[in-house]
Amino acid sequence: MASLPPNFQQLKQDQLQPFLHDEISVPDELEANVLITTVDKIYNWSRRSSMWPLLFGLACCAIEMIATAASRYDLARFGMEVMRPSPRQSDLMIVSGTVTKKMVPAIVRIYNQMAEPRYVLSMGACATGGGPFKEGYNVVSGIDKYIPVDVYVPGCPPTPEALIYGLLKMHEKVDRQSVVSVPWYQKDSSQFVPVPRLGPDVFDPRQVELIKDTTLKAAANGAAAASNGAGGDAAGEARGPVELSAKAIARMDEAKRRWRAKQGG
């Protein structure tokens, strides 16, 4: 609890004092009915026990999400059966399916409309990283390119058991949070994610400068970057420099190492 302000620690101590030292007398008949706990615990307990998901299906995974809510797997056991169609009333967005470029502005807008505290669970391979459709021209390779994700559930689609496991992990995450450090009680915390726009391709307003640099440089170089799709409509598109970063090279080395290990063993 290093992040707590010292006066807060003191406050907590002061408040607990009477309880810890029996200064408040509890009547005998109420002895079994009084529980003492921390604000965090009760706050988190109530939040995670009635976490309402957004009624929001994208693709195949949505069918498994419905199956999870149906009678066999019974999401009501976790207090999550109330799926709210309105983002204003929901706590958790389950991104259940392939995120396409045409859809991603709507998803980001819905995310912005959700009231804090809000959580995002990325369900399935597509929402996590593009999945089998990653190379598709209309497919976003993972919703975390645009909005922050709390829990990823792998699978194509994840079975209801897997989704429930992911939701329980989400509950654990909520349980670990504290009112003093959660972002939504901080000053100027609630940040809107800029909504992506549909141009010749989808573009993130946060990357406008980067895109402009690359496209204008490509035009200045006489569209030398037009190695791709010469002759077609996509001629002259700017793919940008293929200079691999240190991270990328590390990833490649790792893949190479794994392959060699496989060959050796």
């Binding site: 195949c60 498994e64 009678s71 169609p85 709507a106 021209y137 598109e237 991270k247 990833r251 392959w259």
Partner: protein, 592 residues
């Protein structure tokens, strides 16, 4: 079933096309598996009209385009025209096979729109325009459909490459055999799957003006009506009643719908572009994800098309297994759809929960044979991938003989006589069966309009000619009938299941090697099955390599949406929700 639909032969050779329209028919195309003609672009409407009116080909099943740039096969060696539009026509009155028409167009040409002859060409022509850039003269609303206005280029063209493009054929050299794979994100400065034209400036970009539908209702300027203003209401793409990421643009006056335009593409995940890069078998798991409620039917349809192209035989036991899986799937789909029609009517949750109770038991069976609940990937070219595990048959027989008939009867008792369902369903969403056929609508929708047209009887595939079952029809073509026809069809499926489980022989389940290294012979094929939602077809073109040259899915959900606008005009907004529900769409298949 009427007598006429039982005759499964098409009088393809005595059409008299060559005599009557000699100047329009440029030749025949023998490499197709069906009778096929090459038609002059400017005469296509004459030929279509002639075939519809004089030869009874009243159903435009498939309309698509193939880009032959860089085609490696021998057949088209002396053909210069780059693009080829393909039409597949069927007769709903006579049944039987198709007739294919090919129209060759150079790159930037315009051809006449078929919408004046077959209004059902509407969405399919828009798709061809969007993905290939072929313009259709006389189309009522030629806009992009799967992508957005302003998108750069026509992505299905062979020379259009996306940001993560690596090679034309899988497996990619970067991953096999060395496995030295660099992440695609690392190769782009913005780490996203996007490309932009050189010189494009995002600061000055202005988004295209949003399309607004025009009223389709008759004008009343007789002075007797109040002059009111209509407004545009947008439903979706995030709306709980649109069954996924689907958008309906409506123009309403009060609560009455004056015009309704479906907007799609929010789940367009490029099956066809990816499919042209995959090997033949790699596409099998992708078909699972088309209509993700019915992966088994999709598998079968694709397997049938490839088998027809490559001439692969299927062993007896595998044929039975395919029928069993497909009919279980049909029950899953129909009960699901019934549950969600009721959901759309406002009976939230309870009927749907009842309706999908048996689904879980069927999915357990699927999981036992294939390892996955939903994405089964069970069929192979020449059979099915593995035989049944122990105890499977007994469980399936218990479901087919005892549990499912009881469950369907219970659902029937609970819902069919329900007063609200009748009040909301009777007479709502009416469209005559003739209109439905001309709009290329298929499946339960036309059978709820009184036409006994079912491909299982009209052009039997697999071993459907061995089973004793009826094609239920209902006369009214409204929401109530569309609900009830699904109940009746599910009951017929139970009958087929009982017979198939009883008669299934022992034996092998996969003839040949399952197509792991298939090279389909050069040619084209269009093959279709009666999927639970309607006619599911695959149009495949092969240049003799390990990948399909063209992989096109004729999906029932997508083409049935042709009827959504015409069916909804004049009804209330609340009815439009149910009208959409009763079409029974799945967005994976609509947008592909």
């Amino acid at each position: 079933m009427t007598e006429a639909t039982a005759v499964a032969e098409a009088p393809a050779n005595d059409l008299g096309l060559e005599q009557d329209l000699a100047d329009a028919v440029l030749g025949t195309w023998a490499e197709d598996t069906e009778p096929a003609f090459v038609i002059a672009p400017d005469r296509i409407l004459d030929v279509l009209t002639r075939l519809r009116d004089a030869s009874g080909y009243d159903f435009l099943s498939n309309l698509t385009c193939v880009d032959y740039q860089g085609y490696g096969g021998k057949l088209r060696a002396d053909i210069d025209d780059r693009l080829e539009i393909v039409y597949n026509l069927y007769s709903t009155s006579r049944g039987g096979g198709s007739i294919a028409l090919h129209v060759r167009v150079p790159e930037d040409d315009t051809i006449p729109s078929a919408t004046s002859v077959y209004p059902g060409a509407n969405l399919q022509e828009r798709e061809v325009y969007d993905l290939y850039g072929v313009k259709f003269d006389g189309h009522p609303n030629l806009r992009r459909i799967l992508l957005w206005d302003g998108f750069n280029g026509h992505p299905m063209r062979k020379d259009w490459h996306e940001a993560y493009y690596e090679e034309d054929a899988k497996p990619f050299r970067s991953r096999h055999p060395q496995g030295e794979y660099a992440f695609q994100e690392d190769k782009l400065p913005w780490a996203k799957n996007t490309t932009y034209p050189a010189g494009w400036d995002p600061d000055s970009w202005e988004q295209a003006v949003a399309y607004v539908p025009v009223s389709q209702a008759p004008q009343h300027d007789d002075g007797a009506h109040l002059d009111t203003e209509s407004i545009v209401v947008n439903l979706g793409p995030h709306h709980p009643s649109t069954h996924g990421v689907f958008r309906m643009l409506t123009r309403v006056e009060g609560e009455t719908i004056l015009a309704l335009e479906p907007e799609m593409g929010y789940l367009h995940r490029n099956h066809e572009k990816i499919g042209e890069r995959n090997t033949w078998l790699m596409n099998m798991p992708f078909t699972d994800r088309l209509d993700y409620l019915n992966s088994m039917s999709n598998n079968w349809s694709y397997a049938l098309a490839v088998e027809k192209l490559a001439g692969i035989e299927v062993p007896e036991r595998a044929e039975y297994l395919r029928v069993i899986m497909a009919e279980f799937t049909r029950i899953v789909n129909h009960t699901w759809s019934i549950g969600f029609i009721l959901n759309d009517l406002g009976a939230l949750q309870t009927p749907a929960l009842y309706a999908i109770e048996e689904r879980e038991m069927i999915l357990d069976l699927f999981e036992a044979v294939s390892g996955a609940r939903m994405m089964c990937n069970y069929m192979r070219f020449g059979g099915v991938v593995r035989d049944l595990p122990e105890g499977w048959h007994g469980q399936a027989a218990y479901l087919a003989n005892e549990r499912l008939p009881r469950a369907l009867d219970e659902l029937d008792r609970m819902l069919t006589e329900n007063e609200i369902l009748r009040a909301r369903g009777r007479g709502v969403g009416y469209l005559s069966v003739e209109d439905l056929i001309s709009l290329s609508v298929s499946g339960p929708m036309i059978r709820a309009g009184g036409l006994a047209y079912d491909i299982r009887k009209a052009e039997p595939y697999g071993i459907y000619d061995r089973f004793d079952f009826d094609i239920p029809t209902l006369p009214n073509s409204d929401i109530y009938d569309r609900y009830y026809i699904r109940m009746l069809e599910a009951k017929e499926s139970v009958r087929i299941l009982q017979q198939a489980l009883r008669d299934m022989p022992e034996g092998e389940t996969l003839g040949g090697r399952g197509g792991y290294t298939l090279r389909a012979p050069e040619g084209q094929v269009y093959s279709r099955i009666e999927a639970p939602k309607g006619e599911l077809g695959f149009y495949l073109a092969s240049d003799g390599k390990t990948q399909p040259w063209r992989y096109h899915v004729r999906s029932p959900s997508y083409i049935n949406l042709n009827a959504l606008g015409p069916m909804s005009v004049g009804y209330k907004v609340a009815d439009a929700i149910v009208i959409l529900g009763a079409i029974d769409i799945v967005l994976g298949e609509v947008d592909r």
